[in-house]
Amino acid sequence: MTKWSMVIDLDKCVACQGCSMACRFENNTPVVSPDEAALGRSIFWNDVFPLRSEEESAIASGQAKFLTRPCMHCEDPPCTKVCPVGATYQDTEGIVRQNYTRCIGCRLCTVACPYGVRYFNWYEPTWEESLERHLTPDQIEGRAVSEGPSIRPKGVVEKCTFCVHRLFKERDRAAAEEREFRTEDFVPACVQTCTAKSRYFGDLDNPNSTVSQLAQSRRAFRLLEEAGTHPKIIYLHEG
C-alpha cells in the first residue's frame, strides 16, 4: 500500500515561504485580519518560522535556523484518536484528512496535536470583492463530506491534506489517459513550487523511492520522535 511521505532538506531551504503561499492558493485558506494575525490566528497549513535558540537545541542534532512545517501525517496520529465525531481520520494511504461537514469545532484534535499544525476558523472566511475570483474550484465532496480546498464554514478545524485533491485529479487523469497511476504523478503544491528544490515527495513503502532513500540519510530526523507519533515528514538537517 502506498504510504505518502515528504522529505524536507533544511540545508537547501531558504525560508522563502513559497510553500506557504502555494498552499494558500491551492487550498483556499483565507487571509485573516491584522488584529487576528497578531493573536496568532493566521491560517498557514504550511507555516515557515525562525527557531529560537532553545528550540534549536530541541531539534535532534540539527542546526536549522528556520523551520517549514506542514502536517506531519503521523503514522500514529494523536488527533484522529481524540476526535469525537470522526471528522479527522487517516486514510488507507496514510494521509490525515479533515471533513469539515462532520467537524463540530471542539478542537480536541488541535490540542492533541504536538506539532501545532491544526487551524481553527474563528470567523467565516471571506475574500474581499473580486479576490473571490481566484479561489480554486476543486472541492472534495460527498454526502456529509466536505474536504480539501472546499470553502470552510465558521467554527471548523482545517489542516494540510498533502493536497489530496490533486491525488484524486491525477488518478482521474491516469484513467482518462488509460494508463496506470504512477506515484510520481502526484506532488502537493508546496513541493511543486519549492524555490530551493528542498522538498521531495513519494511513497515511503517503496524502498527505491527518493523519499525512502533520503530517509536513510545520516542527516535525516523527524520532529518529536520521542512522542511516538511516527511522523511521515522527514527533515534533513544542515551539513
Binding site: 537547501k12 513559497g18 491584522p34 481566484h134 460527498g142 463530506v145 491525488l167
Partner: protein, 796 residues
C-alpha cells in the same frame, strides 16, 4: 502546456478502494458512533471546474523574471505554477509569484483612464476616454515639438527588460528627447558601472554558482533580494546539496539575514568598508603570489606600474595594494580581524573556481566614489584568481539577436532635441552617470524645464530616497502622465492616469538574465484584461500615429504585439511555439578563450567608449581616466573625491562621508528588501504577502526596526518598544525588534511598507525608511545615496 481539457469535465470518483476509503478502515478502534456515521457517508468525489486552460507567462513581482503557468478555470486565474521550461526558476515560484492572483483580482486596481479635476493634490478625478487621452498626450508632445523644445518631455521608468526599454528609448528619440531615465541609479547601477570601468562591459556579471567551489558574497543578499533572487536560490541549492563536493559560502555584510544564516561563515563588516576588505584580500593574494599569472600578465592592464602616453610613471594595482592594504591596516578600517582576512584570501585563491559576488543594492552605494570603487575592487578579486569566463566563475550575459530597428526618419527637431542636456544630469552634472533617477527632483527644482513627464512603472515619491522632494518638483511640471495600475503615491499627482493592465494581462517580452546564455520569456494575457486598461506600448504607438509625420514613420507597427512579433522573429523559433512554451533559450554557455576574437568582442572591453577595446581587464581603469581626464585635481576634490592622482583610477577605499555626526547619530540606517514584499510598490497591496511579510521576526502587516539585541539592552531598550528613528532628514516611529544577527552600529528597516496610497492593504501601514535617507546623489555617478545616512533611536 496548451489546453488541458482532459480534466475539464466534472469528475466524479467513486469511493472505491483506498484513497477515499473513509469508511471501513477507520471503524477499527473507533467508537461505534463514529463508524456508524462514516458508514453513511457514501461516495466521495472531486468536483472541479467545467473548462480549464494552462497559459504561460512571465512574472513581474521582482526582477528575476520567472516563467509561470497560469491555471485558468472557467475564465478565472485560480493558480500559478512555475514554468518548468524556464531556466531561471525551473518550475519553482516564490511567495510573490504564488500570490500574484491577488494582484490581478485586486479590488483597488484602477479600472480606466482618469483625468485630474482641480489642483494637483485635489485627489479628484473624472473618467476620460482613451481616444481623448491619446489626443491630449499627442497634442502636448506636438506642441513641445512645434516650440522646438521636445527635450522638455521626459520619462521615468522602472523595470523594463526586453523590448520595452528599447521601445521607450525609441519613442522618446522619435519625439526628440534624451530624457529616458531608468531607476537603475536606485539599485544596480553601481555594480554595472564597476563592471564597465574594469571589465569594460556595461552589464551585471553573471555567476556560475553551480560549478563554483567558493562564494564570497560582498553584501549580496543572494537568497532574499537582489537582481535575480530565484536564480541565486536555485544555484545555491545545487552548490550546497546537488553535487559530490559541497561549495562554501561566505557572507560579508553588517546584517546576517537569511543569506548569512545559511552561509558557512558570516563576517559582520563595518558598513561601507567593502572596498578595503576586498583590497586587503587582494593584498594577501598578491603578496603570496597566488594569483593567475597568465591572466594578470597577458589579459589585464595596470597590474604593474606603467609609463603612460604622457611619459610619466603611473602606479599599478600591485604596488598600490601592497603599499596600502596590508591586513592589519584593513582590520582597522573594516573591523574584520587580520587573521580572518588572510585566511579568506587563502581560501578564495586556493579553492578555484571561486567567485566574489557584487550586491545589487545596499552596502555599496555610498555617497561618494567609494561605492563604485568597491564594485571595482570586488571584480578585481575575480580577475586576480582568473575566474573571469571560466566554469564556476564569472560569466558575461548574452542576449538574443533581434532584427535592427528600422532607421529613424530624418527629423531636425528631434535631432536637435536629442543633443540637449539630460534632465537628470547624467553625462554632464554627473560625468560618469548614465541614469540619475532620484536627481530629477532636484534638477527640476533647480530650474531644468520639464513640461511633460511620463511615469512608467515609476513611483519616485515612494521609492527614491527622500522622495518627498518629487511632490515639490511635480508642482513645477505642468503635465504629468502616469501609467500606473494602482493609484500610487506618484500617480496621485498626475494629470492623467492611463492604467496599464497587470503583467498577467498584457503582451511583453523579457530577456532572461542570470545564466549567461541568451533566452527570452514571453508575457501574454493569462486572462482577458479585466478593466478598461491599455498596454502602454499600444498607447504610445497610437500616440505616434496621432502625432503623425516622422514620429509615426518611426513606428510602422499596428500595435505593440506586432512589434514584439517582428522583434522576436530571429530567436530561433516561431511565435506560436514561444507563446505556447512561454520561453525560448539558446542554452549552453560557450566560453571564449582568453584573447580570442569572441573574448574581445563580447567578454572584455566591448562597451568602453573612450579607452581601448583590447580585451584587457583594467586593474587601472583607462575608461575612468579618459572620462575624468579634463577635470583637474581641485575640481575633483570639490566634487568629493577622497583621493587624487592614480589612486582615483584604481580600485580604492575612501571613508564614507556620512550624513549625521557619529556622536549624535550612532547608527547607520540600512533599508532592506525582503523576499516577502519584494522591491515593487504594488506588492504591498497584496494581502497574503502582508500576512507573511515579517516572518524573520514574527511580524505581520507592518513595519519594524531591527537592532542588535545585546547592544539594545545596554542602551535600555526592550523588544517591541515603540521607538523614534531620526536622521538629519526626518524621523519615523515604529516598533523595535531585537535580533542577534547584526552589528551594533547599524539598524535595519524593511522596505515596502509605509505607503500613503495604492490601496486598502498598503495604505497607512508601517513606515517607509527611504523617507529619512540622504536624498543627495553621488556627484560623479549620480547614484542614489542609500547607505550613508546615520540615525539615532529613542523611545517614543
Amino acid at each position: 502546456m496548451g489546453s488541458n481539457k482532459s480534466l475539464s469535465r466534472r469528475v466524479f470518483l467513486k469511493a472505491a478502494g483506498g484513497v477515499v476509503g473513509a469508511s471501513g478502515a477507520l471503524a477499527v478502534g473507533s467508537n461505534l458512533l463514529r463508524s456508524l456515521l462514516q458508514e453513511n457517508d457514501g461516495p466521495v468525489y472531486l468536483r472541479t471546474s467545467q473548462e480549464e486552460e494552462i497559459i504561460s507567462t512571465v512574472c513581474l513581482l521582482c526582477p528575476s523574471g520567472c516563467g509561470m503557468l497560469g491555471r485558468v478555470a472557467d475564465g478565472n486565474l485560480v493558480k500559478l505554477e512555475g514554468n518548468p521550461m524556464h531556466p531561471i526558476n525551473l518550475g519553482a515560484l516564490c511567495p510573490k509569484g504564488q500570490a500574484a492572483p491577488e494582484l490581478l483580482y485586486n479590488p483597488d486596481r484602477l479600472t480606466g483612464p482618469l483625468k485630474k479635476i482641480g489642483s494637483r493634490d485635489s485627489g479628484e478625478w473624472e473618467p476620460i476616454t482613451w481616444d481623448d487621452a491619446i489626443r491630449v498626450v499627442a497634442g502636448k508632445l506636438t506642441q513641445l515639438r512645434e516650440n522646438g523644445q521636445p527635450e522638455r518631455a521626459a520619462i521615468l521608468y522602472g523595470e523594463t527588460r526586453g523590448q520595452m526599454r528599447q521601445f521607450l528609448e525609441r519613442f522618446m528619440a522619435s519625439i526628440g528627447s534624451p530624457n529616458v531615465i531608468s531607476h537603475d541609479s536606485l539599485n544596480i547601477e553601481a555594480a554595472k558601472l564597476g563592471t564597465l570601468f574594469t571589465q569594460g562591459i556595461y552589464d551585471l556579471p553573471v555567476y556560475d554558482l553551480e560549478n563554483s567551489n567558493y562564494i564570497l558574497s560582498f553584501g549580496a543578499n543572494l537568497l532574499e533580494a537582489g537582481r535575480t533572487p530565484q536564480r541565486m536560490v536555485s544555484g545555491h541549492s545545487y552548490l550546497r546539496q546537488g553535487r559530490a563536493v559541497r561549495g562554501k559560502v561566505i557572507l560579508i555584510d553588517p546584517r546576517q539575514g537569511i543569506t548569512g544564516g545559511k552561509a558557512d561563515e558570516w563576517i559582520p563588516i563595518k558598513p561601507g568598508t567593502d572596498a578595503a576588505l576586498a583590497l586587503g584580500i587582494a593584498h594577501v593574494i598578491i603578496r603570496t603570489g597566488r594569483f593567475d599569472t597568465d591572466f594578470v600578465h597577458n589579459y589585464s592592464f595596470g597590474f604593474d606600474d606603467f609609463v603612460g602616453e604622457d611619459r610619466t610613471l603611473h602606479k599599478g594595482f600591485k604596488s598600490y595594494v601592497l603599499e596600502n592594504y596590508d591586513p592589519e591596516r584593513v582590520e582597522m578600517i573594516t573591523g574584520v580581524p587580520a587573521t580572518t582576512i588572510t585566511r579568506i584570501a587563502g581560501e578564495f585563491s586556493g579553492n578555484p573556481p571561486a567567485i566574489a559576488v557584487l550586491p545589487g543594492k545596499g552596502g555599496l552605494l555610498n555617497g561618494n566614489l567609494n561605492g563604485m570603487s568597491a564594485a571595482m575592487a570586488i571584480l578585481s578579486l575575480n580577475a586576480l584568481v582568473g575566474s573571469l569566463e571560466t566554469p564556476g566563475g564569472v560569466l558575461t550575459q548574452r542576449y538574443v539577436t533581434c532584427p535592427d530597428w528600422p532607421e529613424m526618419p530624418n527629423d531636425d527637431v528631434a535631432e536637435r532635441g536629442r543633443q540637449q542636456e539630460r534632465a537628470d544630469g547624467a553625462g554632464t552634472l554627473f560625468p560618469l552617470g548614465n541614469h540619475a533617477y532620484q536627481a530629477v527632483a532636484d534638477r527640476v527644482l533647480d530650474g531644468y524645464p520639464i513640461e511633460a513627464l511620463f511615469l512608467y512603472d515609476a513611483n519616485p515619491i515612494y521609492e527614491a530616497p527622500g522622495g518627498g522632494r518629487f511632490k515639490d518638483a511635480f508642482e513645477k511640471i505642468p503635465f504629468i502622465v502616469s501609467f500606473a495600475t494602482f493609484l500610487d503615491e506618484s500617480a496621485n499627482y498626475a494629470d492623467l492616469i492611463l492604467p496599464e493592465p497587470t503583467f498577467l494581462e498584457r503582451w511583453q517580452d523579457d530577456y532572461i538574465e542570470g545564466l549567461g546564455y541568451p533566452g527570452v520569456g514571453l508575457r501574454q494575457p493569462v486572462v482577458e484584461p479585466l478593466f478598461d486598461t491599455m498596454n502602454t506600448g499600444d498607447f504610445l504607438i497610437r500616440v505616434t500615429k496621432e502625432i503623425g509625420g516622422s514620429v509615426s514613420k518611426a513606428f510602422p507597427w499596428d500595435n505593440y504585439k506586432s512589434l514584439l512579433q517582428e522583434r522576436l522573429s530571429n530567436i530561433g523559433t516561431g511565435w506560436e511555439t514561444l507563446q505556447e512554451l512561454g520561453v525560448w533559450l539558446i542554452p549552453g554557455y560557450h566560453f571564449s578563450r582568453r584573447g580570442s576574437e569572441r573574448w574581445v568582442d563580447e567578454v572584455v572591453g566591448k562597451d568602453r567608449k573612450k579607452s581601448p577595446r583590447d580585451g584587457r581587464f583594467d586593474f587601472y581603469s583607462r575608461e575612468l581616466y579618459c572620462l575624468l581626464e579634463e577635470k583637474n585635481d581641485d575640481l575633483l576634490a570639490a566634487m568629493g573625491a577622497g583621493v587624487s592622482g592614480d589612486e582615483l583610477f584604481l580600485p580604492h577605499y575612501e571613508a564614507v562621508v556620512y550624513q549625521g555626526d557619529e556622536k549624535e547619530f550612532p547608527f547607520v540606517l540600512n533599508v532592506v528588501t525582503l523576499m516577502s514584499l519584494g522591491p515593487y510598490s504594488y506588492a504591498a497591496n497584496m494581502p497574503s504577502l502582508q500576512e507573511i511579510s515579517g516572518m524573520v521576526v514574527g511580524e505581520r502587516w507592518g513595519s519594524w526596526m531591527e537592532m542588535n539585541d545585546e547592544y539594545a539592552h545596554k542602551l535600555g531598550f526592550h523588544d517591541k518598544d515603540q521607538v523614534w528613528i531620526e536622521s538629519p532628514f526626518g524621523r519615523l516611529q515604529t516598533k523595535l525588534r531585537l535580533v542577534k544577527g547584526m552589528r551594533e552600529d547599524i539598524v535595519n528597516i524593511p522596505h515596502n511598507q509605509g505607503h500613503t496610497a495604492i490601496g486598502r492593504w498598503a495604505k497607512d501601514r508601517g513606515v517607509n525608511g527611504l523617507e529619512i535617507l540622504n536624498p543627495a546623489s553621488e556627484p560623479f555617478t549620480g547614484l542614489a545615496s542609500y547607505t550613508n545616512t546615520r540615525v539615532k533611536v529613542y523611545k517614543a
